[in-house]
Assembly symmetry: C2
Homo-oligomer: 215 residues x 2
């Protein structure tokens, strides 16, 4: 089986915005973006990893959330998904946004030009790697030991791997919320149709799942 | 986590027919039902377990096929899903329709009033059990060791467990083919709405996935 690079459960607004500018500790998604509005569909499902109470829906949206870890052996993320710092790492005590039990459960490759020793939190190890997308993907595939690799985002990281034509599948959940400004994944999903098949699947929850796979 | 009883990838016609009458070795789905027409949507996906060539779609339908084994620890099936024989087992040499590598990879509980020793084929073991649905489910849950149990069918087995109110979720793929006669799962999906939530999800492949979960 070929090892795939997959974008999963990536949320954007109806106008393609996945995050705001000026990300900070207080506002991980930057100005003007309340992540809970974009993630609401996932949080309502039975398989949502952060669910603290029993219950939750088990319809279409739940298939998407419970597929998150299926056959995934590593994740690649941009530095912004690990933390809001820029430039050389000043504070090694702060270990990222993901808490003591990060939801990845695999090696995670954080792309940064600034070296930092690896961090292990529970069953997730964060490695800090410099390199172009193809080189980082090669490292992640080796760590994934035959399984697929998740491309975790953010927006600019996904775009970088799309530009390098390294992405095999994307699941983008488009929320019925218009944001106007911010970091934009696309002008329209049609931007990807030269290279990808697309299933557009409206969910009863109001979100529209866009499922792309390489032609 | 509660252990669920789940119907997965169960195919019926637009008029609710899942199999014909008079199942036989030559016609496992009975008179008038060509299973490949009902299963076509699944066979086209990348995750179809019987796929022999690379390729296949990775859109909505693939989520449904690749979820087939997710967290499943045992299957329950009616005798007809194992083989077409009726009455006492005459031929122990014939080991069912599923070949040397059955696609279950777990213990399978075949409901029958006629005793037969268990059969192990690769990593699937078939146990032949007599008992009412609740008793068989209790056995299967114990064998599943905390994972969920798949209710594999056929039609009359699913109906039997629905009548006993033991089913937690159902994924029924409704094909755009009218069959007229045969074994009918329902008159209309609305028959289940008193006890289940329902997401109706049309797929670009032409099938309409019906995803039910208990209220």
């Amino acid at each position: 089986m070929p090892q795939l690079l997959k974008v999963q459960n990536f949320n954007v607004s109806s106008d393609g915005v996945g995050a705001g500018e000026n990300q900070s500790l207080e506002r991980p998604f930057g100005d003007g973006v309340e992540p809970e509005r974009l993630f609401k569909w996932a949080g309502a499902t039975a398989s949502w990893p952060n669910r603290t109470e029993p219950g939750g829906t088990r319809g279409l949206d739940d298939y998407l959330t419970r597929d998150f870890s299926h056959n995934i052996g590593a994740e690649i993320m941009g530095r912004n998904k690990f933390g809001p710092q820029r430039g050389p790492w000043a504070d090694h005590e702060w270990q990222g946004w993901w808490g003591d039990e990060p939801p990845f459960h695999t090696p995670v490759f954080v792309m940064t030009h600034h070296h930092r020793p690896s961090i292990t939190l529970s069953d997730t190890t964060f490695h800090f790697v410099d390199g172009d997308p193809a080189a980082v993907l090669a490292q992640a595939k080796e760590a994934a030991q035959g399984k697929d690799v998740r491309l975790g985002g953010g927006v600019s990281t996904v775009r970088q791997f799309l530009d390098a034509d390294l992405v095999d599948t994307l699941h983008i959940a488009v929320s019925p919320i218009k944001l106007g400004t911010g970091l934009r994944l696309w002008d329209t999903p049609d931007d990807l149709l030269d290279r990808f098949h697309l299933d557009v699947v409206p969910s009863p929850s109001g979100v529209t799942h866009h499922l792309f796979w390489r032609k």
